[in-house]
Symmetry: C2
Subunit: 335 residues, 2 copies
Amino acid sequence: MSDVADRAGVSLSTVSRALRGAPGVAPEVRERVQRAAAELSYVVSRNASGLVTGATGRVAVLVPFLQPWFFGVALAGIGTRLRQADLDMLVYQVGDMRGVEEYLGELPLRRNVDAVIALSLDLDEREIAVLDEVGVPVVFVSQRIPERASVFIDNAAAARSATRHLLNLGHTSIAFVQSADSTGFEWSSAERVNGYREAMAEAGVRPQVLVGESGPRGGALAAGELLSRAEPPTAIFAESDDVAMGVLRVLQRSGLAVPEVMSVLGFDNHDMAELLDLSTVAQPVSEMGAVAARLAVEAVADPAAVPHVELATNLLVRGSTAGPRAASRLVGGNE
Amino acid sequence: MSDVADRAGVSLSTVSRALRGAPGVAPEVRERVQRAAAELSYVVSRNASGLVTGATGRVAVLVPFLQPWFFGVALAGIGTRLRQADLDMLVYQVGDMRGVEEYLGELPLRRNVDAVIALSLDLDEREIAVLDEVGVPVVFVSQRIPERASVFIDNAAAARSATRHLLNLGHTSIAFVQSADSTGFEWSSAERVNGYREAMAEAGVRPQVLVGESGPRGGALAAGELLSRAEPPTAIFAESDDVAMGVLRVLQRSGLAVPEVMSVLGFDNHDMAELLDLSTVAQPVSEMGAVAARLAVEAVADPAAVPHVELATNLLVRGSTAGPRAASRLVGGNE
């Protein structure tokens, strides 16, 4: 920009004002600046250049909500990778106001992005059909869509392994706490329940699935329900660390020792999990975002390719899971 | 779009493909679709319309990082309000890769937004000078900049009141835990320390400020240091709930009862705070985002206006703060 200022013989702020058509610049000066900019072939506006190349330089990220921990971490991963590719990140929270369908319906006419990343957005067949109309390449994060570029973890296998960890410790009464409200994780959640059920079936143990609210509040309510049963479980597997935190909180308040009286297992490796000493299934959220961004960049170059990238998870065994101890059972032999 | 399809006598997907210049559409068909769209004055592209009106239909939100709870909530507030104004939200994480200056330096030439919202970005005078060059209206969130549109809380006054709450309970040894690493909250953090110091000075009590890492880890480390002092404090005021959570965790692990042995006070009203029964200063983060978005929309219409909106905070007294109890002092009379 200082080259333009030098060439036109004006100040930097005059260049800025002239190029964006702000008032207070004499027509003669504006023309001089514009000519200088053109001579130096400056990219005055991505808008203008976009009309020539057909590229907008932008990728849209659709999220159901922005508040849960997962989305901040994933967006950070996406944004960082997109910047490396010199792409801007548009963020649309579709969970609250207009909804996916409305957004997708507008997309072909707005034509304001080169690609779309659908972040933990559990789209149904009808919504995916809308994407076909759009024609803008789409990358799915944490959902596996056969005909679309996707990056995901194997939720079912991870939950199966984690459940086996509890079974191997000797637990035979293990409850799974699932949330059913619209946080955008329905698909992951359903897969995790499936994995849990499979492991329980393999072991010949009766599954106990509680469906409730999401987040710590959902976990707290579920823990309350479980603790008021005639025979409470000895282990609780929460579908996410957020939910597990609510469970832990209720146990702590009730003076029930973890893991002596109750084992608690989460899913995510939330940044609070280590501090809470919570055993959990770690999923690489930031990396998932970075891979999604890479796939979006590749999809722009080759929309026909529909790569599927599966990332690994790890069971992190911390202090919240241990074998059930007869001496400290919830009913009867407390302390 | 279906109007265009009807008028051109083609399918919806053909309209989509024709309008975005995708292959597989006969030139004659494409022309027919483009004519139909033009006749119906469809906004084929915001890019094209932007060149005419000078508006891009986009607002950029600059954030230092995306991961902390605060940013997700604020972005949700901003995004929702921008959608109401039919504006798209570009999100730039400037904390990690290029930095504020680089972003701002590019802005005049990229010219891809109508306004910028700087979210908890502690800009120095030099960086603010760069904004002058840019000429795009800027709204500051959670920092008060005299000559710029800003939305904020009175961090100093809120911290002063909160400290008085601890003093009024009878505490005379109150530590403040501050984080100094680059989470983007330096300014708020500094103001909160000021408020704490003022209240302590008014009461004639010696301040004890610990400066360390941010987040729960910072809180945990600070708690460790405080607990290893010859005379640990009876109350800890953490600069944020994230930090307070780390403090609470260490106290819990050490078997030190809150609030009996130690009172803990946070700042934010994080969504985990209620569950943890943490006394805290509630700030309206989502509303702050919504107001910032409104100011951005207004600034586009009238860049000369520099409104300052101060939002109210509330001290939420929960179970983590109470008077110091001689019977359960940390040193000497435990239980």
